[in-house]
């Protein structure tokens, strides 16, 4: 009699509820997940200055000074400018070798340095708008160069080659100097 009972026992776990448990976990992770992509302006900071070493000499014509004050007013090489003009001015300055060949602007894109300086009171937003314009003009230059050399946009080009082989990047290096802000008034 006892033997008979034992033989009837089924050694299986019920699996009908498994899908429900999986669904529950799935919904939890669905709700928790945020697939937002981090976007922003990438920059490389210079290493801290060495007190024993003098900064390398820079010809004045190779340096473009952009000053932005707390009200968002812009001075480029001592002359007032508006935000809309910045992109064209930076492009003329950096690519002077292939454009106007003005003796007051840079010798070559590789030697050109764009320096952005703000007041301590300048709102971050104004500073980012300025940086955005400068980066935009470098992008435009790289785009034009890629079109000229390879007939494709710079984005397509940079997807095809590695960072080390990127000759367009080498042609137009982003030499942006972010100067320490003035104490301001």
């Amino acid at each position: 009699m006892f033997l008979k009972k034992r033989a009837r026992e089924v050694a299986e776990v019920p699996q009908a509820g498994m899908a429900d448990i999986a669904f529950l976990l799935l919904i939890f992770f669905l709700v928790v997940t945020t697939i937002d992509v981090d976007t922003g302006i990438g920059m490389q900071l210079p290493p801290p200055p060495d007190p024993d070493q003098e900064p390398p000499p820079i010809l004045e014509r190779n340096l473009m000074n952009i000053l932005v004050n707390a009200q968002g007013l812009i001075l480029i090489n001592e002359e007032p400018a508006s935000l809309g003009q910045v992109q064209q001015l930076v492009m003329d300055f950096v690519d002077n070798e292939n454009r106007a060949q003005d003796p007051n602007l840079s010798q070559s894109p590789r030697q050109a340095i764009v320096s952005i300086k703000t007041d301590r009171q300048t709102p971050y937003e104004i500073y980012i708008n300025m940086l955005d314009e400068v980066i935009g003009s470098y992008r435009q230059l790289r785009n034009e160069a890629a079109q000229r050399e390879f007939g494709i946009t710079y984005r397509e080009y940079s997807n095809r080659v590695s960072r080390e082989d990127d000759i367009i990047r080498e042609m137009y290096p982003r030499n942006i100097s972010l100067a320490e802000p003035d104490p301001g008034s």
């Binding site: 899908a19 992770f29 997940t33 981090d38 920059m43 301590r120 980066i135 320490e180």
Partner: protein, 153 residues
């Protein structure tokens, strides 16, 4: 006519559901892998600014955030501009140097994402930047949103 009816009656009307848990598990595993469960509670207000020429950060695991903005006092009130790293406000700005240096030792390819409120003044941002230079964390990213009509880089 009766022939057709017979044929129809023979077909099975049920969708096989045996593989459903497998599909669900596959989705589940995908979301588990994608999820990053490390959100900090913000103690400062960060209203992002917008820019056109932006790039994506591909490797999210390398990113460490620094928040700069007016401190949230509760009741819709905002205090002075403060710096927040991870879950805590930083009182001494010179402490950032050591904090970030320790993070750099853990992850040599560290990218520091600066999430700055658009109304903050450049003075404090610059101070933080100087500290980052001293710490050796030189790869930074000014976090901005995409402006309408912007083209990806």
């Amino acid at each position: 006519m009766s022939k057709f009816q017979k044929k129809q009656a023979n077909t099975k009307q049920q969708v096989p559901t045996a593989a459903m848990p497998d599909i669900i598990f596959m989705l589940l595993i995908f979301f588990m892998v994608v999820t990053v469960l490390r959100e900090v509670e913000l103690q400062v207000r960060v209203d992002f600014t917008r820019a056109e020429n932006i790039e994506k950060i591909e490797q999210k695991r390398l990113v460490s955030y620094i928040y700069i903005g007016p401190e949230i006092m509760g009741g819709g009130q905002y205090g002075d501009t403060r710096v927040q790293i991870d879950d805590a406000l930083v009182d001494d700005i010179y402490a950032i140097r050591r904090l970030m240096y320790d993070k750099l030792m853990e992850e040599p390819r560290l990218i520091v994402s600066l999430r700055v409120d658009q109304q903050s003044e450049m003075g404090i941002v610059s101070d933080v930047k100087q500290e980052l230079r001293e710490a050796g964390t030189l790869r930074i990213n000014y976090s901005t949103l995409r402006e309408d009509g912007a083209v990806p880089m």
